[in-house]
Symmetry: C2
Subunit: 368 residues, 2 copies
C-alpha cells in the first residue's frame, strides 16, 4: 500500500497530528516495521547505518512506542504494581473529611509519611534500578476487589502491602499473578512475603522498659486482629512472663481512625506504668488521649510504639519504638518478585528483617 497512508492513514492527513507508529517510522526511514522494532529492542541485529536512519526518523516524528501494543505482543508489561491501602476513603459516600490537614503543616506529618510510604519508596527505587516502571494503586475497603483486578491486569508482578486486600482476594490473585506480600506472615507458606521480626522488636521494647526503667505494670494497646499484631501481643505477654511480671488479660481496644485513640476509656486513676502500643500511629493516639487527661508522659506513664514512622520522631516527647527497615523491605519485596519471575518453579520464600529498638524520650529516657 501507499506508505504515506500506511496502516492508519495518519500524519499526512489534515492538520491533526495523530500519534506516529512503527509504520510511520518505517515508512520515513524506508525500512520495514520489523527493522524499526529491532532497532529499539535488539540494536545489535541491525546494521549501523540502518539503525541510525531509523533513530533519526523516530526522532523527527517524535515517535513514542505504545506500551499497550508492546505488552500485548510481548506478553509482559514491563511494570510492577504496588498495592496499598488508600490514605483516606475515596468512597463518595464517605466523602473527603480530612481535607484541611494541608492548612496545618504539622498535622500533615501525622498522616504522611506512614510506614507504607517508606516501603513504597524502597519498591520504587528497586524497580527503577531494574528498569521497571511502578504502577500504584490504593484500595479502600469498598473498592479493593475492583482495584486489585484492575492493577493486576496492568503489571507483571505485584507487591501487596498487608491490609490492602483480604486474605481471600489475595490468595485468589496469587494463583494468577506473581505476588509478594509485605508484612503478613498469616499466609506464610502459601504466598512469598517479607516481614519484620515482630517478636524480636517487641521483646527489645519490653525488656528496655523492664530493665532500664524498672517498670512492672504494663498495658498493651491495639487491635489484635492480624498476625503481625498477634505476634506483638503474644511477645509482649511472654516477655513479661519471662521477667516474672504480670501481663494483662487482654489488650486495650482502639478505633481504626488514623489518629487512633483508645476506644476503651483510659482510667486516669488506674494508670499502668507503661502503654505498649501495637504501632506508632496508635501510640500517638494514646499520647493525645493522655494529654487530654492531663497525664504527663513519660513522668506518670511511659508510651512505646512500633514501626519507626517519621511522626513518632516528631512527637513531643519523642516516641520510643522498634524501627522496621521499611525501605529495605520494600526493595527486597521487588527482588523476590523478580526471583519468582525468573525461577517460577522455586518454592515460596519468606524473608524476615530485624526491628531495631529506638530509644527516645517517651519511655522515660533523657532527651539526646
Amino acid at each position: 500500500m501507499d506508505p504515506g497512508l500506511a496502516h492508519n492513514g495518519q500524519m499526512s492527513r489534515g492538520g491533526v497530528t495523530r500519534k506516529p507508529t512503527v509504520y510511520d517510522v518505517a515508512a520515513r526511514a524506508g525500512v520495514s516495521i520489523a527493522t524499526v522494532s529491532f532497532t529499539f529492542r535488539q540494536p545489535a541485529r541491525v546494521k549501523e547505518p540502518t539503525r541510525l536512519a531509523v533513530e533519526a526518523a523516530a526522532k523527527e516524528l517524535g515517535y513514542i512506542p505504545s506500551a499497550s501494543a508492546r505488552g500485548l505482543a510481548g506478553g509482559r508489561t514491563g511494570a510492577l504494581g504496588l498495592l496499598t491501602r488508600a490514605y483516606r476513603p475515596t468512597d463518595p459516600v464517605l466523602g473527603d473529611s480530612a481535607g484541611s490537614a494541608e492548612d496545618d503543616p504539622n498535622a500533615d506529618c501525622r498522616l504522611f509519611p506512614l510506614y507504607f510510604d517508606e516501603i513504597g519508596r524502597g519498591v520504587e527505587e528497586e524497580c527503577w534500578r531494574r528498569g521497571y516502571a511502578v504502577m500504584l494503586a490504593g484500595a479502600t475497603n469498598s473498592n479493593s476487589e475492583a482495584v486489585l483486578t484492575d492493577i493486576a491486569g496492568r503489571v507483571d508482578g505485584l507487591v501487596i502491602l498487608s491490609g490492602a486486600v483480604s486474605d481471600h482476594e489475595l490468595e485468589r490473585i496469587a494463583e494468577r499473578l506473581r505476588v509478594v506480600v509485605v508484612s503478613d506472615p498469616d499466609l506464610a507458606g502459601s504466598v512469598p512475603h517479607v516481614a519484620v521480626d515482630n517478636a524480636g522488636g517487641m521483646r527489645a521494647v519490653v525488656e528496655h522498659l523492664v530493665e532500664a526503667h524498672r517498670l512492672r505494670r504494663m498495658a498493651f494497646v491495639g487491635a489484635v486482629d492480624d498476625s503481625d499484631r498477634r505476634e506483638r501481643y503474644a511477645t509482649f505477654r511472654s516477655t513479661l512472663h519471662d521477667a516474672g511480671l504480670p501481663a494483662p488479660d487482654r489488650p486495650i481496644a482502639i478505633t481504626v481512625d488514623p489518629r487512633a485513640r483508645p476506644r476503651d476509656p483510659i482510667d486516669r486513676d488506674a494508670l499502668p506504668e507503661a502503654f505498649v502500643c501495637e504501632n506508632d500511629e496508635v501510640a500517638l493516639g494514646v499520647m493525645d488521649a493522655l494529654r487530654d487527661l492531663g497525664v504527663n508522659v513519660p513522668g506518670e506513664v511511659a508510651v512505646t510504639g512500633f514501626d519507626g514512622i517519621v511522626a513518632g520522631r516528631l512527637a513531643t516527647p519523642r516516641l520510643t519504638t522498634a524501627r522496621q527497615p521499611l525501605t529495605r523491605m520494600g526493595a527486597e519485596a521487588v527482588s523476590l518478585l523478580f526471583d519468582r519471575i525468573e525461577h517460577p518453579q522455586e518454592p515460596t520464600v519468606a524473608r524476615y528483617f530485624p526491628a531495631r529498638l529506638v530509644v527516645r524520650e517517651c519511655c522515660g529516657c533523657p532527651a539526646a
Copy 2:
C-alpha cells in the same frame, strides 16, 4: 473453531494454567467475546441473566482483563504518569553510595519525604479518586530521556515535576502527550503548570526577619539556576531594597548534594545576620555547616528555608520556612490534566498557590 481450544488453545491443555482471556470466559458462559466485553464495560447493554452468567464464568476462571489489550483497542490506557527525579542516582557508574541511611532512622528523615514526595501523594490521591492508576517513573540525569519516552508510552497524561527532565525534552513531549508541569514557570505560556507564589513566600520570610527580628544584613544561599530560584532570589533582593536595606551582589553557591552544604566557604568572622536559603534542603545543609563551625543558630545567625518539608520540622532548632501546599498542588496538577483531556482545545493554563510563612525557632522566634 472448536471453542474448547478457542483462540490460543489454553486452559484445557496440559497442567499449566494459562491466563484466561475473553475467549475462555465467552466459551464458558456460552456467549460471544463481544458480550463478555459489554458485560464489563457497558453492563446496561446486556440482559441481566446473560450478564450474571458472564460474571460467574469470569469469577470461576479468575479472569483478569489485560490492560495492554484494552489500551491498544481502546486508544487509552486509563493511567496517568508521574515523572520525578530519582532520589539517588541509579546509574551503575555512580553506584549506590547512600545505602546506609536505613541504619539511622533519623538520617532517613532528611531524604524522605522531600517536597516532591508530598506532591506525589496529592497526585496519587486525585488519580485514585477519579479511578485512574498512577504510573511512577524516576529519572536520573543520565537516563531521563529513555525514562520519559518509556512512561510516555504507558499513560494518557503526564505530571512532570520540575527538574525531572530538561526544558527541551519537556517541550518535545508536550507536543505528543498531555502534560502538566509542577513548579516551573519557566515554560509559562507553553505548557500548563501549577506553581507556587515564590515572590509572596519569600517576601513574607524576609519581612518577618526585618520586622520581627530587626535583621539587616542577609545572605541568600542557593543555586539561581531555574525560574523558581530566580524568583526567590529576585524577591529576596527587592524586599530588602524596599526596606531600605543592603542586598548582597550575588547568592552563596551550593553543591547539588541532597544534604547540600554551601560550596562557598562560610566565613566564621564575617557572618551575616541571616542566611535566607532557596529551599529547606539547602537550609538544613547550611545549619550543618554552621554547627561544624561552632556557630549558634539562631543566636549568632538566623536561617530560613522554603518548601516546608518534614525534615525542617524535625531539625534542631526547627526551621522557619515558607510552606507550599504541596499535596494540594499535586492534586490540582491532575485536575488540570483531566481538564485538558476533556477539552483539548482550551488554551494553556497555569495555577498558582500561595506559600505560607511558618515561623519556627531558626529565625530567632521562641519555641512554641
